[in-house]
Symmetry: D2
Amino acid sequence: MTKPLNIGLVGYGFMGRTHSNAYRTVNNFFTPGYHPVLKAVSARDAVKCQAFADQWGYESIETDWRKLVARKDIDAIDICTPNNLHKEIALAAAAHGKMVLCEKPLSMNTADGEEMADAVEKAGVANTVWYNYRRVPAVTLAKQIIDSGRMGKIFHYRANFLQDWTISADLPQGGAALWRLDAAAAGSGVTGDLLAHCIDTALWLNGGISNVTAMTETFIKERKHNLTGKVEKVEIDDACSFLCRFENGSLGLFESTRYARGHKALYTLEINGEHASMKWDLHDLHRLQYFDHKDEGIVRGWRSIHVSDSDHPYMKHWWVPGLQIGYEHTFIHHVADFLQSLTDGKPCAPTFREAIETQKVCDAVLASAKSNQWANV
Amino acid sequence: MTKPLNIGLVGYGFMGRTHSNAYRTVNNFFTPGYHPVLKAVSARDAVKCQAFADQWGYESIETDWRKLVARKDIDAIDICTPNNLHKEIALAAAAHGKMVLCEKPLSMNTADGEEMADAVEKAGVANTVWYNYRRVPAVTLAKQIIDSGRMGKIFHYRANFLQDWTISADLPQGGAALWRLDAAAAGSGVTGDLLAHCIDTALWLNGGISNVTAMTETFIKERKHNLTGKVEKVEIDDACSFLCRFENGSLGLFESTRYARGHKALYTLEINGEHASMKWDLHDLHRLQYFDHKDEGIVRGWRSIHVSDSDHPYMKHWWVPGLQIGYEHTFIHHVADFLQSLTDGKPCAPTFREAIETQKVCDAVLASAKSNQWANV
Amino acid sequence: MTKPLNIGLVGYGFMGRTHSNAYRTVNNFFTPGYHPVLKAVSARDAVKCQAFADQWGYESIETDWRKLVARKDIDAIDICTPNNLHKEIALAAAAHGKMVLCEKPLSMNTADGEEMADAVEKAGVANTVWYNYRRVPAVTLAKQIIDSGRMGKIFHYRANFLQDWTISADLPQGGAALWRLDAAAAGSGVTGDLLAHCIDTALWLNGGISNVTAMTETFIKERKHNLTGKVEKVEIDDACSFLCRFENGSLGLFESTRYARGHKALYTLEINGEHASMKWDLHDLHRLQYFDHKDEGIVRGWRSIHVSDSDHPYMKHWWVPGLQIGYEHTFIHHVADFLQSLTDGKPCAPTFREAIETQKVCDAVLASAKSNQWANV
Amino acid sequence: MTKPLNIGLVGYGFMGRTHSNAYRTVNNFFTPGYHPVLKAVSARDAVKCQAFADQWGYESIETDWRKLVARKDIDAIDICTPNNLHKEIALAAAAHGKMVLCEKPLSMNTADGEEMADAVEKAGVANTVWYNYRRVPAVTLAKQIIDSGRMGKIFHYRANFLQDWTISADLPQGGAALWRLDAAAAGSGVTGDLLAHCIDTALWLNGGISNVTAMTETFIKERKHNLTGKVEKVEIDDACSFLCRFENGSLGLFESTRYARGHKALYTLEINGEHASMKWDLHDLHRLQYFDHKDEGIVRGWRSIHVSDSDHPYMKHWWVPGLQIGYEHTFIHHVADFLQSLTDGKPCAPTFREAIETQKVCDAVLASAKSNQWANV
């Protein structure tokens, strides 16, 4: 007897699809005590919104998210809009006592994030931020390995997120699928879009970051803006890299860009500890590379772990060893954990409060890049 | 306005799950003109069958597949039983005018397969066999590359399917999930279970096989039988390899085993042509390795193609470049193609008739292994 | 005080260069008790032979190998000629009481090989065959791992040697560097040239082979012959594959070709044992892939061992960990071991007698391919 | 008729061995017009020095480098000492009109380097610095690809050099093989030892660096000092990373450490250009990864180039395609190029003057790490 959880989705873009798929699929593979009901989806364009609802089985649509958050038949609001709308929707949803699941990054900046965290906490509603890569089985396994003590003292953490889709100067900015290039909608460029993922995972795996020195660049200075039709200055960062010190004494190095030819969505991370090291990358997300210095010398080497066995995180719910799952499953895992957290009465990480930590690092990174000085987080 | 297609599923094991997931998901990503309705599932154990129906949303259950195939509200029978039941169910389904989707291998032998093909053709019902690996995007891409003429004359084709799950002598045979070790239920061991996949893909990519010389082995001679409780002789082949000649003049080499430590489900294939070569393996199924001799010499090398772009087979229906799909999607693709074939009034490959070709090769392989002589297909 | 060992080299082709380099270099890295002296090189073309002698520091030349083997100042004859001359030179060298180092394959067939082994044993002279791949550190490490018992019972052995240099129909056969395509000089095609390497390693690592079923093919039926200037039938095998049973009960699968586009010299081998598996390939010869089932489940995976540590075979003589050696070093290792064997008064494997075993398998393979029957070794 | 070049080597450590091997081997594979003669080696310990001379064939020894540089029978001085002796020896050698080949880094700092460059230029003697990785064939190929214009505008350059040999706190510093941990002898830690390599290659491939922001760390604060026998503060940098801007507008990111478990000597570099990208790493130094966006979309992927064909840099001098060379060959190539440069009357890059550029970047990096400010180069 699972309980229904009525979902109201705001936004039907790429993330709207991944979340909808997760809601529809989760109960075939997991038994978390609740089952999502696709109650309504909201977007300004009624025709497109209805088509999306038909495709995914939403019972109804709204063309104003304010109406959606006010509906009595909705239990949880899922925010899949551009970043600049996160705060207003979250505050309204909390005010109506709705649970809130918010796409990352949580907010345009730390101050907004704190306001949002205050709101959901004051309302006492369940909340979580969709940093989905925590729930790639190989990444969750990395966390297990760290927690098991196998790594020993950590010396280095490095991560990058490399893409190549904005190299053409003919690509416009703004509107629809291109809002990520528009500073007004996105807040920042790769920092909030890509580095935020790297930072969230890093904080989870390796603890807090103390201070940073950063560098940003905008390679294409002007692009046509889809909303105005004019060629306008590009205000986002095309690339951002930073060095940092973690609170545990380890050194960090992060990089992100949309100008790395040959990398479609290459999020990689590596951790070097006293006894062991690990590497992972999103292009082959079902593998974790692991090196254990305790192995006997002559047969020591990096192990390529095909994370598909039933004792690997989340994998007993899927197929049989050797058969891989993919990107979309990270969202299914997040929904499963969120639903289970409701059953257990516990928070589902990262909560809004936890996700502010990533926001703080992003703010420090952007401040450092602007001032050419080290910045404290 | 998509049309409903009422599905009656026989068997709720591993394949029952993959098919059910495909039926539930296909219309969120594809628009093939029909949408499957999970009308009923059949299995002898009513309690377990009902639990499966609840988990996946089947409207009803049957404990006798004969009742299922006779139900008027069923359009298509999907056979997910052990191999020894395929024929009887398929013949009954065809007799009731139902479409039939049959798990691979089609039959226990060529003669049975021909009887089945005759039946569905006589009944004039749509039919297909679930050789799902044809619809891994990287494998479909390999087919496109061959059809484009890039390969030139083919010299070599090699494939293997390596597993390691039966190495322990303590593993029993027969019953439930272990029917694959029971010759009475499975017909053969790795030949029908694993090599059949390799052969189906090979025939599709490289054309007919003329003759074979084969070798089989059963490493563990006796195992406890779950159905009798006694230690009994193991009658299946634990390993099988064969050499062959293709009709196009190329040489083939195939191997399969469940005793290759370190390989969970490693289906690999490689094709060497006059101008180009290709490699693929199931453990990283979203990649195709491609070598093109026409590339300029100093920058020539094997290309690792991350098959996730929108112009790759099936991929425009999924996420964005760099984000991989997995094993289960091959079944979704098969359902999408099957439904589209109904809309188009065309067969969905491989049909029963086409799948007999794989059966013929399997029969020749087993005969050769028994006689220690080359055998014609 | 190392002792001199006066070398007389017959043939100055590719192998003449690799051996000469080994003789010149061995004492800088190893201290095997002897140091080779490059006394003389023999070849029919005096001008080319002198140029080779100058390049490599040979003290003198001969244009008739019969004179070379008779010279009193020569201790050891090194045979680097086409295969059809091995026997005659070896018999003559042994008759003059010279040690003999013979390029592989030892002989044109088993009978010749036995005559040669009888001769060197009767003469009581040190002898060895240049199956150099045994002395790739990663391959030697594989042997250590097997001998340590880590593998348990062996189930499977597979190897192939894939090249792509004879795909063009314009390539002539015979003479100079192309004697490998001329059956009169080479005896066979890929069987003696490439599979002989795979078989030698296999016998060393996995023991004797009982019987085989084989298939050969000659894709280009006629080629211009460099010695006659005429288009002549190609008598060698372009490709050869075979299945076999080892005496230890394991199954073998071997393949070789010069028509595998994209593979320059890809010798790969894999061994699957009860507890562990190993893989190696010549294109990245400094790495051994190792899978150990005894590793804890969640961190189990194929280990990529970079065989460059000081406790790896031969490696303490070279540089520092992480810095790789290459192809030529296998010959240096062979010379070091040969010289050490003289110091120790022990044979240097593989001796002529031992190398006959490979010849027997090659003969059985060719016989099976001709008869289309299984052949005993 | 090649001319002799009489070599006087100072220091017989790891680099003394690599250089000696290069001198002994170069003329077997290259014909650069000169042949090195191993005239003398110098080191303070006469017994060890003589043993080295015997092992490598040096005609004589000196226990005082001052005598060596003054000898009339020496043409070229090769400096393989700890860094703090480079300047004094180089100045003395130049004063005696000797050619000078100096190990990297050229000097303890930029000022010293300039003094050295002035000295060799004033003396008019040939000079070069052993940044050997420029002459890995795959790296030289990368340079050819850049020069060919295939890359287009460069956006990103990243490199790291990761080792793991100083993680144990029990490892002492100073003396013999451990001088690299002693600031007095080495000047700096990983910056001069490892990053200098990365920087030299980067300047060669991607042009000048404008400014940097850097971070260093010394993880083990105190170690026993071999020369004093006391536990002393460790003054070198165990790890160093920096961000930078290149003069061509691209962004750089560099990292080096001796605390990255699992990496023995992993020098990796990657370049992302408008049209293409390249990657290389020292652990598999015979491969270059190359991605070309101009390849047709469906078959586009990273190409793994096995740099062993005769049209690849330096490779026509070695074996046949598919057979790899290793680390030591980079020094042979450098000697071949140096000797050829004498024949051609041209400088052999990098000259002392050119190597100062790397020194300037190292100085800026160390200054930035100290001041926590961006530093101009």
